[in-house]
């Protein structure tokens, strides 16, 4: 059997190795890499990105403490990842669509969601889903990877309707790449060549599962080849690099050259500093020392350094932004805590027209509330 052992070696496709080094613009300390040029962003745009990352970080801290106080429910923190989220958000044009996960608070905010609404939802009020008109944003997806075919279909619809100026950006996690829906959605995207950009926020963990055990492929970006589309790896803690790569992908999605295909899979390499959610305790399954190396490449620090060194930012501007950020989050909390809901919501928006039987179920409930008072409904276990 010596022959085909040779043959194997010659013909096996196992030999090809993708370039695995992520694209970077800034080094770990926030200095511009000699090999790189900064993306063409105005000072205002750069400051906007910076302010959004500041806000995201502050929001994260406040949300975690609100959860601890029982004022909102389970929350998925994003510290360490907000640089990438904000950068992808900035890379979008207004008319583009965003498909976020439960962790993409900052991306949603940048694309037009109101902070107060985000918190209202986290209070368990469906009323939080009331984005201003023209904000092209889906409610966050919790069932992993299910948004991938939706984003593909939305992008396909743009193409079919001749909307050349609209692309779709779909966030997903590293864990999501194992799901069938990731595969089916990306394969469709490749076949129908739709204007969609899939950003895999590879934060190294899917709850307690480290990236290396999620898949045996060396990178996530290389999975793109299985779908005949481009895969790119970027330093997800370098907001300028993420912006540049995502912006290029969005542009290509809308107006590819003859030899380009519209879809891109971006692997944004980052780290989840904190717990998976406020219900999770990462010390059970990972060595917290691991995060130190990542924290040294913190996206906020790096951008801050870069902006200071390029004189876009000074201490005064920084302080102003800080104050604005705190005010904005405080106001959002107030808005959310002022929100009200009602049991009627349970039957609303199930169908355009509420079926009789469902309407009767509400009537029954209301009769009971009338008879026994709302307190009787406080606890299922009595």
């Amino acid at each position: 059997m010596s022959t085909h052992d040779d043959t194997d070696h010659r013909h096996s496709t196992g030999a090809t190795q993708p370039d695995t080094e992520p694209i970077r613009v800034l080094d770990d300390d926030g200095h511009l890499l000699s090999s790189a040029e900064p993306p063409a962003l105005s000072e205002a745009e750069l400051l906007g990105m910076y302010a959004d990352i500041k806000l995201a970080r502050h929001f994260d801290q406040r949300a975690i403490s609100l959860q601890r106080q029982g004022r909102i429910a389970t929350y998925a923190p994003m510290t360490g990842q907000e640089g990438s989220q904000v950068a992808t958000g900035h890379a979008l044009d207004d008319e583009d669509w965003l498909f976020p996960t439960y962790r993409d608070h900052a991306a949603k905010y940048v694309h037009g969601a109101e902070l107060g609404s985000l918190l209202t939802t986290l209070r368990g009020y469906r009323e939080g889903y009331s984005d201003p008109a023209g904000v092209n944003l889906l409610p966050e997806y919790i069932p992993i990877a299910t948004q991938v075919p939706h984003a593909m279909g939305m992008a396909w619809g743009q193409l079919l309707q001749g909307n050349d100026d609209t692309a779709v950006l779909c966030h997903l996690g590293d864990g999501a790449t194992s799901e069938g829906d990731f595969h089916e959605g990306l394969n469709f995207a490749g076949v129908f060549d739709v204007p969609a950009v899939f950003v895999c926020n590879n934060n190294q963990w899917a709850i307690s599962m480290p990236r290396e055990r999620q898949t045996a492929s060396e990178t996530i970006a290389e999975k793109a080849h299985a779908y005949g589309i481009e895969g790119v790896r970027v330093d997800g803690m370098d907001p300028l690099a993420v912006y540049a790569v995502t912006r290029a992908a969005i542009k290509k999605a809308k107006a590819p050259t003859d030899d380009e295909r519209r879809p891109t899979l971006i692997e944004s390499v980052q780290y989840r500093y904190g717990a998976h959610t406020t219900a999770d305790d990462p010390s059970v399954y990972r060595d917290e020392a691991e995060s130190e190396a990542w924290r040294d490449r913190d996206p906020l620090d790096r951008l801050e350094t870069y902006l200071h060194r390029t004189d876009v930012l000074d201490d005064e501007r920084e302080a102003t932004i800080e104050a604005q950020v705190e005010d904005e989050v405080a106001a959002a909390i107030e808005t959310a805590e002022a929100a009200e809901t009602s049991p009627e919501r349970i039957v609303e928006h199930v169908y355009e027209e509420t079926p009789d039987r469902l309407a009767e179920q509400l009537d029954e409930l209301n009769a009971l509330r009338e008879k026994y008072g709302d307190d009787a409904f406080a606890e299922v276990l009595g």
């Binding site: 939080g128 009331s130 075919p149 939305m154 619809g157 928006h349």
Partner: protein
């Protein structure tokens, strides 16, 4: 043009089979609204494995009649995205038994996009699937698990039993603002023809149809089982003087409780006939609803005449699995004789 054709073209109806009714529904709606598109496995050039989409590819082109990769979750999932984008997708699952890989997309997403987004987004789409047994098809090709979809709020579930309804209900399903699971009884795809209105023809969802009026016992059924039910009713009238009312439920979700209960109040006895396994099938929902609403009228147990609590057997035995006229007849007699 032959004179026969000329006459046909002038008349307001044409004689179609059920599968032709489906095709006509698709055709009429695609011609009327260019957001309507068809997608699925082999629906394009091949015209669908049952020819339900025949000719549509040639007429509406590859952008509106799309052969997709072999991936049901991808088909339903991308249809949800298409619906969000403003299209009106009609997705085909090649057989109902192959819709399960798309189950998550159907129940977690299509059904809930409206409620999840507090009404901001909607999901007007149709998922069609040939369904049921009796055609000597291979394993997994004869499923009739409509109950799975009926139990999921946010979905509508429709099963036509006549060519005119196939066209009319499909038309209404396509125009519906919410997702509709449209199950087509393939046993009667070509079993008979009837006059079907030409052009736009919508039959409202949510309304059962009384196929035969009767006073002794109500038979609730849908899809292919309306045939054995009507045969049984005929035999019972002739041979036993039993006068059956046969109600074709047509829309399984939301259920037309009014028509079902009214029929039962008239007869006081009922049988439900379906192909799906008896346990936790839609028959249970109908029987329970009746006893909730009309117990005082009830004179006998409501009889379920249904598939076995077993997978559909290979084709050699499927006629023993499906409710036959003889089983329906015997079951009704049991109810009447109680």
């Amino acid at each position: 043009m032959s004179s026969a054709t000329a006459t046909e073209a002038e008349s307001a109806t044409e004689r179609l089979t059920l599968v032709e009714g489906v095709r006509e529904g698709l055709h009429t709606e695609m011609a009327r609204d260019d957001r309507v598109m068809v997608l699925g496995e082999d629906v394009g050039k091949n015209g669908g494995v049952f020819r339900a989409t025949e000719g549509l590819f040639e007429e509406f082109g590859e952008e509106r009649v799309v052969d997709t990769p072999l991936a049901e979750s991808g088909i339903v999932g991308s249809s949800i995205g298409l619906a969000l984008s403003g299209m009106k997708p009609v997705a085909e699952m090649q057989f109902m038994g192959f819709a399960y890989p798309a189950f998550d997309q159907l129940v977690s997403h299509a059904a809930r996009l409206r409620s999840r987004s507090h009404g901001q987004y909607t999901c007007p789409m149709v998922v069609r699937a040939p369904y049921g047994g009796g055609i000597r098809a291979p394993e997994h090709h004869s499923e009739s698990k409509e109950a799975f979809f009926v139990h999921e709020p946010g979905l509508k579930v429709v099963v036509p039993s006549t060519p005119a309804d196939a066209k009319g209900l499909l038309t209404a399903a396509i125009r519906d603002p919410d997702p509709v699971v449209f199950l087509e009884p393939k046993l009667i795809y070509r079993a008979f023809r009837e006059a079907v209105p030409r052009g736009s023809h919508a039959v409202p969802l949510g309304e059962a149809a009384v196929r035969r009026e009767g006073s002794d016992v109500s038979v609730f059924t849908w899809g292919a089982m309306t045939r054995p039910a009507l045969i049984a009713a005929g035999n019972l009238a002739e041979e036993h003087g039993v006068d059956c009312e046969v109600v074709d439920v047509r829309t399984l979700s939301p259920l037309d409780v009014g028509t079902v209960v009214a029929s039962f109040e008239k007869t006081g006895r009922a049988a439900v006939v379906h192909e799906a396994p008896k346990t936790a099938g839609v028959g249970a929902e109908i029987a329970t609803t009746i006893q909730e609403e009309a117990l005082c009228y009830q004179e006998a147990p409501i009889k379920r005449i249904a598939g076995f609590d077993a997978p559909v057997p290979l084709h050699a035995l499927e006629d023993y699995y499906l409710p036959q006229a003889v089983r329906v007849q015997d079951g009704i007699l049991e109810t009447v004789g109680f």
